[in-house]
Amino acid sequence: MRYIANLVNADKMAGRTRKYKVIFSPQKFYACEMVLEEEGIYGDVSCDEWAFSLLPLDVDLLSMELPEFFRDYFLEGDQCWINTVAQALHLLSTLYGPFPNCYGIGRCAKMSHELWRKLEEEEDGETKGRRPEIGHVFLLDRDVDFVTALCSQVVYEGLVDDTFRVKCGSVDFGPEVTSSDKSLKVLLNAEDKVFNEIRNEHFSNVFGFLSQKARNLQAQYDRRRGMDIKQMKNFVSQELKGLKQEHRLLSLHIGACESIMKKKTKQDFQELIKTEHALLEGFSIRESTNYIEEHIDRQVSPIESLRLMCLLSITENGLIPKDYRSLKTQYLQSYGPEHLLTFSNLRRAGLLTEQAPGDTLTAMESKVSKLVTDKAAGKITDAFSSLAKRSNFRAISKKLNLIPRVDGEYDLKVPRDMAYVFSGAYVPLSCRIIEQVLERQSWQGLDEVVRLLNCSELAFTDMTKEDKASSESLRLILVVFLGGCTFSEISALRFLGREKGYRFIFLTTAVTNSVRLMEAMSEVKA
């Protein structure tokens, strides 16, 4: 607003008369008007709103393109976007009929749902009597499951996002991918046939799939050798275009894979994933902490270091004070003292916290560690950890079986559960919750889990008696992520859909990943 005001005032000072129009999308906030007024240009500009709030990024993905939602709500506690969400839900319900079953978990979900219901009441009669086309709606707050959002992604779509940064459903592939000297902006959705087949696959399968496809393609091309004129004519007019298209897409995705491989090898991805899995499973915490410390010391990447610290904090219910102090100091020394502000933000958002002092654990640990060498102290800390700590993530993980027990190798080619999106190490918590609630059609039996998630009173069911709902519609589920959703979660739920015969449609305030989450919390422009 101030920027606009400066432009207008500069023009005024220079004696230029112009007409100004400001279009607010998706809505204008009262505070904006106030600023215009304050700057003395309220009368000079005309304002409009463009209520464009739902962008279909794909056949099953709707985005509100509100990346600021996460910071505004989860850090600042500002509820300015709740109305936008309610409006979006209302729009969908007017288009697709009433939603007979509605579930939700989280404070923001609850508030959005209430506001939405108020909206529906006001506009009574519009949706009554219509056949519902979507049987279930599920509202989920991002802070119910931070862990999943912080993990490195290994399904192809997620990997592309983590590596190249997908914006609004499209991505910029640089010269190293296009094997030319130009970069290309590519739309990534179901229309890209090649992409559609590999997008949800674990990365280990993608290369094999692509090379097989390349071989098939070559075989198709080679068919032309044995053709007569008539067949050739047919081939050229009907098939060649499609083959060329496929060829182009293939080479693009193969290029992307190669680029990803190169980057990951350079980053020592193997080691990183090992640490992440250890944190998820609850083993070798001391070693993981040391890894993070080294990561910071080597100034590898400010965002990556922060992400790992947050993962450690959430899975362990906070860092032990000694670690918190030490890692924070090292972070400030490696990446800049102004990150003091970032740490304050992370603490407020609950992403990076310190365990309450006076824990039996800390006292014991410090006594014991004075007597033994570092290595042994680490092991003792681990032992105490499993006894004394009340780590909610661990408890939730146990109750919901988030860490699959595997005998032998986990088959990533033919996945048997949603954990494949994290190489078989971990089932995304958010997806598991959705799965359980849908199975039970309620929160029954999940009271303990809800309590552990600190969402007692914040998990709700809202069922309207709707006998018009066809069985077809009851299999269609709209999942609403408030605060962002990752491609891994989308892939996992698509898998669940295939397994259980559901079809999921995703509505998110924005597509997100660990990098975006950390950037949103960082007070300093990297």
Binding site: Y30, A31, S46, W50, L91, L119, Q333, L340, V524
Partner: protein, 482 residues
């Protein structure tokens, strides 16, 4: 783009309309144009007290708009405000009655509260507030005609104040807003309260209203009202947030000297004990960097110092993190004595840099300069008998990686690979970096013939390594495992 003025008007009018609905209705467009011309008569029309039709249109304007239009008179030009008002009235006439849900008009407090376009039932808010036609109550909301009249008449500032006077009503307004969950509405009410309540009273009331308080804080941050924000934190006794908010300002100061001075003022602030130390360090660091930068720039331009000639500086050291500064210092000022500001040892001491970090950084810097002797010296210690021994606080595998990254010659690499404690890691690294002697010796020590045979196929034919391998393989003294 050669548009006539008339075209422009039409463009703006029509595009404005399109902004509202995706199904343009032509009648509405022509109606719009008509009413635009008739706008003044419209004003007279609705001044009439007993026109019930006005109720619907009138619901669009509310008392805050009145105050806005009042302030428009004070600040903006008349024509501008009239234009705005015209548009407002036009919108009143045409918008909102189509099926597609419309964005909420934020021109009216009451419509804000409803958060949608349908007029009609005020329900909760106005019902609560307008039981009686009492004047001192929030009359505008219950009596739309009154609103409109205020809006279109000449208003005085005192009128504004007279409207919602009772503090109780104002707070009730706030509470209503909070119960609706819509942050935009809550902020709108807070803006109003901020204008009409004294600071102390506002703060006192918000202290017990967490949701509204959060919104006020965020609002103040967004509009940059630093002073009020600090006052608020002081009142709430939130000392740490007070300190952090003050500290955050430094990011807006570009000039290094000014920033340094500002940081100095931050030192006494009520941070936690650890954070106070961090702030102190930040100040000291910037102070140092300014000195080093000035000095080095001088040296560089003088052109006499070899290191600067060979490796000209690519960027200034100002505002860089401590570790980067240490690297810089190890790169350009390695040999300096502890007394100077730019010596690495001085930095280490002043900022209490842990040994691990120091060695890691010094290694990276010296390796980049290919100063292998310095690297050696970093790890060599003399024990009391005078024998030298190599130790590293960071693990020699790390050392080897850094050396390799800086293209260290094989002999140097070899020496350090040999020092890696863990045998498997040692073998892996040796194989990876082709340190033949180490591989051969390690295989021999492990008595692993298969591994050695495998490695033999990787070395160049006829090379010295191959010969060595053959020699070892044929040695009768070794009892091979496999």
């Amino acid at each position: 783009m050669n548009r006539t003025k008339g075209d422009e008007e039409e463009y703006w009018n029509s595009s404005k309309f399109k902004a509202f609905t995706f199904d343009d209705e032509d009648d509405e467009l022509s109606q719009l144009k008509e009413s635009k011309r008739a706008v003044n008569s419209l004003r007279d029309f609705v001044d009439d007290d007993d026109d019930d039709d006005d109720l619907e249109r009138v619901s669009w304007s509310g008392e805050p708009v009145g105050s806005i239009s009042w302030s428009i008179k004070e600040t903006a030009s008349n024509s501008g405000s009239n234009h705005e008002r015209e548009q407002l009235k036009n919108r009143n006439n045409f918008s909102s009655y189509t099926q597609l849900p419309k964005p909420a008009s934020t021109y009216s407090l009451s419509s804000i509260f409803r958060g949608r376009t349908r007029p009609g039932s005020f329900q909760s808010l106005s019902d609560a507030l307008s039981d009686t036609p009492a004047k001192s109550y929030a009359p505008e909301l219950g009596r739309p005609k009154g609103e409109y009249r205020d809006y279109s008449n000449d208003w005085s500032p005192s009128d504004t104040v007279r409207r919602l006077r009772k503090g109780k009503d104002k707070l009730q307004l706030l509470e209503e807003a909070v119960s609706m969950h819509d942050g935009n509405v809550i902020t709108a009410v807070l803006i109003f309260l901020k204008r009409t309540l004294s600071k102390e009273i506002l703060f006192r009331e918000l202290e017990v209203r967490q949701v509204a308080l959060r919104h006020l804080i965020h609002f103040l941050k967004e509009i940059g009202d630093q002073k009020l924000l600090l006052d608020l934190f002081r009142f709430l006794d939130r000392t740490e947030e007070l300190a952090l908010t003050h500290y955050r300002e430094h990011l807006n100061i570009q000039d290094p000297e000014k920033r340094k001075e500002f940081l100095k003022t931050c030192i006494g602030l009520p941070f936690s004990a650890e954070d106070s130390a961090h702030i102190q360090d930040h100040y000291t660091l910037l102070e140092r960097q300014i000195i080093i930068e000035a000095n080095d720039r001088h040296l560089e331009s003088a052109g006499q110092t070899e290191i600067f000639r060979k490796h000209p500086r690519k960027a200034s050291i100002l505002n860089m993190p401590l570790v980067t500064t240490l690297f810089y210092s190890c790169f350009y000022h390695y040999t300096e004595a502890e007394g100077t500001f730019s010596s690495p040892v001085n930095l280490k001491k002043t900022f209490k840099i842990p040994e691990k970090q120091y060695v890691l950084t010094a290694l990276a810097a010296r390796a980049k300069l290919r100063a292998w002797h310095d690297v050696d010296a970093l790890f060599t210690t003399k024990n009391w008998l005078g024998y030298t021994k190599k130790r590293a606080p960071i693990g020699f595998h790390r050392v080897v990686e850094i050396l390799h990254k800086n293209s260290a010659p094989v002999q140097i690499l070899q020496e350090y690979v040999n020092l890696v404690e863990d045998v498997d890691t040692k073998l892996n690294l040796a194989t990876k970096f082709r340190c033949h002697d180490v591989v051969i010796d390690t295989c021999r020590d492990l008595k692993d013939r298969q591994q050695l045979l495998a490695y033999r196929s990787k070395v160049d034919k006829g090379s010295a390594e191959e010969e060595k391998i053959d020699a070892v393989l044929s040695s009768s003294q070794i009892r091979w495992k496999n």
